[in-house]
Point group: C2
Chain length 261, copies 2
Amino acid sequence: MPQPPLPPSQPTAGRHTRLERAEGDLQHCLLCDRSRGGLCNGVDRDGLEALAHSSRRLVLPPGSTMVEEGQTAEAFFNITRGTVKLFKSLPDGRRQITGFADPGQFLGLSRSGLYAFGAETVDTVHACRFQRPQFEALLNDQPDLKRNLLAAVTDKLAEAQEQMLLLGRKTAREKVASFLLGRAQAEQTMRGDTPPDPMPVASVPMTRVDIADYLGLTIETVSRTISALRREKLIASTENHGIRLLSPDALRQIATGQGAG
Amino acid sequence: MPQPPLPPSQPTAGRHTRLERAEGDLQHCLLCDRSRGGLCNGVDRDGLEALAHSSRRLVLPPGSTMVEEGQTAEAFFNITRGTVKLFKSLPDGRRQITGFADPGQFLGLSRSGLYAFGAETVDTVHACRFQRPQFEALLNDQPDLKRNLLAAVTDKLAEAQEQMLLLGRKTAREKVASFLLGRAQAEQTMRGDTPPDPMPVASVPMTRVDIADYLGLTIETVSRTISALRREKLIASTENHGIRLLSPDALRQIATGQGAG
DNA sequence: TGGTGTTATTGATTTATGTCAAAACACTCC
DNA sequence: GGAGTGTTTTGACATAAATCAATAACACCA
């Protein structure tokens, strides 16, 4: 189960290459799509002005470090585009990705004042950044925001519990099937597809290393398992980092331990 | 990795044997110790009356079902005494315990309206129960309560992330060492011990089955690992379900993958 | 277009942990 | 106090996934 001792935390290439718009730019909040359960859902015009005033918009290239484990928690982020990976590491370099934050999700909460996790962009990411003190003030002034945040954290906790079941009790095959279904699901709720596509595409912008670190496996096992599912015609690769689920029902059976094989 | 297919969810013996005090009994809130970071921390006299009015006190024997996965989320609980296990299951009976709720902790939040997990008492548990609609009203009226709850959920999320690292990336030995340290830590913060005991006792009221389901191992591996740590004089069993940590530092090294052996 | 570094795949082998089995221990209840 | 039941420990063996090792596919840039 131990991983190869990687060189601990190589410095990130494009860490300071982010673009920032001027603070207080109201447009970015008014234009932001906040219809589907994001943090800013239901916040009124006045609230949006306050939000716009205390947030900045960032555009971050792939592989950017957003948050480093153990550093003081200075900012809170709301993702508007792209995917961020959150992770925790052991001193010898073993790493567990605890989740992927897609558009509409947040990151950066901390109780102790220090980030308990690291966060890095997977692809190009657009995000709103709030400085901590301003954000806390906003929370107290905007009951909608506070309610949305509590709901969002509750969601994250349920997701984390599901992932613990996966990590502790599922086989490699069950893990990979669950992952693909989860990605397809995320894709659909993000796009608001309804009714669900009978053969949805899972967006998989992350590398095998990331998938392995998310599922508690090695890259070889991930690769072998995906190959097996493809051989069995349950999935098919598409262009640009997508995987089409040819039989979501069969995958669901597998993911819940009721599948063949 | 698959577990033996247990018979799915045997009915609980003492499920309806709980004692309930009359609703609106103000005493139980006034007498409750809410000094150390519980949900009711900082709530004023008026707030307490409101809390007392909409909560009931329960005393539950060991092995009681508090919450069943998939059922409608009707209540919210605050634990005041004893330990509760939270878990998720697969159809074939494999189970993952996602956490233990000790005094001062809550359980029962849900976004969807259905519980996403089960909860069962480990030993005799005292808890405050709130009906959902009343609790939501309380949250809106009591800003302190809302803040405490957000903080508590944030804590739980951080804990869940730590547990994902354990489940996905730690060896059996590292898992058991982490577990014992965690239990000793919980014991100390609960009792408010400061400075920390150099040879603390971890309270372990749960069975090997529960420990195994919490760590993503089998009971045999848990047993063997505890035996090994005992043979190495790193721990020693005490009376009533306790384990004394003879060398917390060595255990910490092991838990973070830096230990010998 | 071809070269170079990275990422993914596939194969052969090892190993940590799971599975199966039995003995030791701990309670409870007549 | 001993029979009966459940839990924990220990041992022998099996196996899923890790590790080690090549090769193949891809991406990026000159």
